[in-house]
């Protein structure tokens, strides 16, 4: 009986089906307005967390925390570990780790310092040799992970002790100092205020052009672009942040050069992770290495390149660190890898691989740096700082897990 109805009123049923569909669509849009679940809450949660931290320290440090001078210091402190964090994020996304990051920092920075202090090389050559050493160490690790299938945890755990050992053998544990002015300038210098502001305005213009171009290109391909309002919001928000930050920096001495270096690297890696085949492959490999293999992705090559990039970034960080301390010290870079991994995780990078982003990782690094800086301003002992940072890490991940379950 039921069947008969369906057969005879075939057309009508179709109309009904369409009506149902339309109804569903209506319901859909309503429910998406009503429920916050559809929004990717993570970036907002991170920004809110950051704001809470900032306000907390602002109150408890009698307003020192957000002063221009402290802000500048905070950003400079952040930049050195921030650079490693960026590479680490991509590495973790691809399903790997680098526990040797801190030792690579030490060895590469150390070699650069040795070349300059002991052999009198000029700054450019010393920096280049440092980066080269970092790249080679990355190649070494990449080779074992990619081509010999040793888990990165093991390979880099080996690197952690090996690289530091080599560093200590070379320097015999003494501090290599002093460096030339031009070497320390990279780590301690500032961009002149006018130039900084010009750079800021230029970046805003570039961003505006990119947004408009993106919209045009979307239209070209018949894809619905963002509405004009959203576009304007984006431009205003991003430009606002850039200009405000630079104004704040200019209140003190200008933009610190390491900060500029970190931001440039962040932009570059963000671009690579989202817009390039290489970046896409990192996500695919971390997400499901078998599926990646069956899709013809060259896993070995991709992982290898990633480790080389990571090595070079560690080297850069090491050079900045050496420059800031005006010398290579025996303990340089210890535990950097852990801070970097923690920052990635706080920024929502999944340790299982396949998930995460550069922009969130950098916010994670900012959270970590703010905690360090704020707690020091509050005169909390470094022992207690360790405890608090560990707790924050666990809580952040717990929050993530709990919120993720709700989202399901």
């Amino acid at each position: 009986m039921q069947l008969g109805v369906i057969k005879i009123e075939n057309d009508k049923k179709f109309q009904i089906k369409e009506l149902i569909l339309k109804k569903n669509v209506k319901k859909e849009s309503r429910s998406s307005i009503l429920s916050l679940r559809k929004i990717n809450w993570r970036p907002y949660a991170m920004v809110i967390a950051l704001a809470v931290i900032a306000i907390f320290f602002q109150i408890n440090t009698n307003g020192i925390f957000l002063r221009a001078r402290n802000f500048s210091i905070l950003m400079r402190q952040m930049s050195i570990i921030g650079i490693i964090t960026l590479g680490m994020a991509l590495l973790i996304i691809s399903g790997n780790f680098d526990l040797a990051a801190g030792s690579t920092v030490a060895l590469a920075g150390g070699v650069a310092a040795v070349m300059q202090v002991w052999y009198g090389w000029n700054t450019l050559s010393s920096v280049l040799i440092g980066v080269l050493v970092g790249g080679l160490l990355g190649t070494w690790q990449g080779f074992w992970v990619a081509y010999r299938k040793i888990p990165s945890f093991i390979v880099t755990l080996g690197g952690l002790t090996m690289f530091r050992g080599i560093y200590l053998v070379i320097t015999k544990g003494i501090t290599i100092t002093p460096l030339t002015k031009s070497f320390t300038f990279f780590a301690q210098g500032f961009v002149p205020k006018n130039l900084g502001m010009a750079l800021a305005i230029f970046s805003c213009l570039v961003y505006t052009v990119l947004v408009i171009q993106g919209t045009a290109s979307k239209k070209n391909y018949g894809i619905k672009p963002d509405s004009v309002i959203i576009m304007i919001c984006k431009i205003v928000l991003v430009s606002g942040i850039i200009i405000l930050t630079v104004i704040m920096m200019n209140y003190y001495l200008g933009i610190p050069i390491p900060v500029i270096i970190m931001l440039v690297i962040a932009l570059l890696l963000n671009f690579i992770s989202i817009k390039t085949v290489f970046g896409r492959n990192l996500y695919a490999i971390g997400g499901n290495i078998e599926a990646a293999r069956f899709s013809g992705i060259n896993i070995k090559k991709t992982i290898m390149i990633m480790f080389v990039i990571m090595g070079a970034l560690c080297a850069l960080s090491g050079i900045l660190l050496t420059g800031r301390l005006d010398g290579a010290t025996a303990s340089a870079g210890t535990m950097f890898e852990l801070d970097a991994i923690a920052a990635c995780v706080i920024g929502g990078t999944s340790l299982k691989g396949g998930k995460g982003s550069i922009s969130m990782a950098i916010i994670g690094a900012l959270v970590m740096a703010s905690l360090d800086n704020g707690m020091s301003l509050m005169n909390i002992s470094s022992y207690a700082q360790y405890i608090i940072k560990g707790l924050v890490l666990i809580l952040a991940v717990w929050f993530d897990v709990a919120a993720g379950q709700k989202n399901e």
Binding site: N24, N220, G222, K275, Y283, G287, E290, A291, F294
Partner: protein, 513 residues
């Protein structure tokens, strides 16, 4: 009938169940009534909401995340997690297998139960013994200590069933248990369910195979677009009726007419192809494989599970453990295929059998999953033109009718069948000359199957050749130009597909010729 009567009659009642995901209403006032001790089939198109319903019954989606009532044995239940539903006697086997790959069969069966352990120490001898009973009951011949990873999908499915049974459930829910099984195994499973029925255990199962539903079930509930369409007893049903209820329109043919015919242009030839097992060169996975593939043809390869079909197509795609020998010619040229990269470069694509393990990137979006194998097409100097990528992806979403809200959603938000379509889209996008497909319509509803057959036919028009491994004999018979039968690692027979019947195929596949 008075109230009392109805309450005792049903072991499970679902009333006015509504479940929303962001942007999707998966279930819309669904009701389901299951009688004590019956075998109850739930059917419906991909994305109709079947799995979602079962996940509510088993506490995966806890009370409070849906509206409506779940009544078991006359009392309303509010499961907050899977453990609570298990305590109430509900055991479920999910559509996506949930076994721990690196553990043994016995360990998997007793995963998560603490029964039989003293002071938290597990008596493995006793466990293995108990497990082996369940293992034999479901018809597995493996040792309890066999690692699950070494089993094929079909056998893993049987392990899942053994695991569910070991929980001594009153209600056993099976979400597409037969998708990966061969006909013999399906028959075996049917016997298990009938046996359970005698013991008073109720089974609810989901399937896209209508024939099998008719054969096994007492009652059938049809769900469409998140709504219950009808519940009917087995004797009121026929295949055509069920299908039209499922898709909401008349649906007379399960297979389309082939429009494009085989040519005599050779595109692939495999000569003396052999795969030796790693470390023991005299043992082989398959050997003496010789076949030709022509432009515009579908070459069906069928046989029992374990005959080496999957291993064969994987090896042609450059994925194998062990030593291969023999020759492969593509378009007349001898080729060496050592990795999937080589294969894709030669114009070969492979839709794998196990979509979760070898196909899906579960942490990726729908878009990145579709374009995974052809991202190079949308890029210049390594830079991806995302707009172009999105356009292309949309095309395949439309032509395969993938049910989704946004390309940038996670792939895990799709129903099982739609995930399969995503992987198919991936390989169509590669635009291969030779497409190897391993169980291409597994877990796909009749309507979508039909569309996939039409798509395969349309691909032939472009001059490609398709090698189709399938356990579904009707599919092999209706779609292929020639049928190869594999048994124990060898090609035992090649047929031109005329006057061929399921019986003939089975005879050669089982070796009873």
């Amino acid at each position: 009938m008075d109230e009392e009567d109805i309450v005792t009659k049903y072991i499970l009642e679902v009333k006015d169940l509504t479940k929303e995901f962001p942007g999707v209403i998966a279930l819309d006032n669904v009701s389901l009534h299951v009688k004590l001790g019956e075998i109850h089939a739930v059917i419906g198109e991909n994305g109709a909401g079947k799995s979602t319903l079962m996940k509510i019954l088993s506490g995966v989606y806890p009370y409070g995340t849906y509206k409506g009532r779940v009544i078991i044995d006359g009392s309303e239940r509010h499961f907050r997690n899977v453990r609570e539903s298990e305590e109430a006697g509900v055991a479920i086997i999910y559509q996506e297998l949930a076994l721990a790959n690196n553990l043994s069969i016995a360990e998997n069966i007793y995963l998560g139960t603490s029964k039989g352990s003293k002071y938290g120490i597990i008596n493995w001898d006793q466990k293995n013994h108990e497990a082996s009973e369940w293992i034999r009951y479901v018809g597995l011949e493996e040792q309890p200590s066999t690692i699950v990873m070494d089993l094929g999908v079909g056998k893993q499915q049987l392990v899942e069933i053994a695991k569910a049974l070991s929980k001594k459930a009153k209600i056993l829910i099976l979400d597409e248990p037969t998708a990966a099984l061969t006909e013999n195994e399906v028959e075996h499973l049917a016997n298990i369910l009938r046996d359970l029925k005698k013991k008073g255990i109720t089974s609810i199962f989901i399937s896209h195979k209508i024939q099998e539903v008719l054969k096994i079930s007492d009652t059938v509930t049809v769900i469409r677009d998140g709504k219950t369409i009808n519940t009917l007893s087995n004797y009121e049903l026929n295949e055509k009726g069920i299908i039209s209820m499922m898709v909401g329109r008349d649906f007379s043919h399960r297979f389309p007419e082939r429009k494009y015919q085989k040519t005599d242009q050779l595109i692939m030839e495999v000569k003396n192809w052999k795969l030796a097992k790693p470390k023991s060169l005299d043992k082989y996975v398959f050997k003496d494989i010789n076949f030709k593939l022509y432009r515009g043809e579908i070459l069906g390869i069928t046989g029992l599970m374990g005959a080496g079909r999957t291993e064969l197509v994987n090896s042609l795609f450059g994925v194998y453990g062990g030593e291969t020998s023999g020759e492969i010619y593509v378009c007349g040229q001898k080729v060496m295929i050592k990795t999937p990269e080589d294969a894709i470069r030669r114009g070969i694509g492979l839709l794998t059998e196990d979509r979760k393990r070898f196909g899906l990137n579960l942490s990726g979006s729908i878009r990145s999953n579709i374009s995974l194998a052809s991202i190079a097409k949308f890029s210049k100097y390594g830079y991806i033109n995302e707009n172009k990528e999105i356009r292309e992806c949309e095309k395949y979403v439309d032509s395969l009718k993938i049910k989704m809200t946004s390309l940038d959603n996670l792939i895990t938000k799709l129903s099982g069948g739609n995930q399969q379509k995503v992987i198919l889209a991936r390989w169509l996008m590669v635009n291969p000359t030779i497409l190897l497909v391993d169980e291409p319509t597994r877990g796909i509803d009749v309507g979508a199957k039909y569309e996939i057959y039409i798509l395969m036919d349309a691909l032939l028009k472009n001059g490609i050749g398709i090698v189709m491994v399938t356990s579904e004999l009707p599919e092999a018979l209706s779609m292929s130009d020639r049928v190869l039968i594999m048994r124990e690692g060898r090609l035992v027979k090649e047929f031109d597909n005329n006057n061929l019947t399921e019986e003939i195929i089975m005879k050669y596949a089982t070796g009873s010729d």
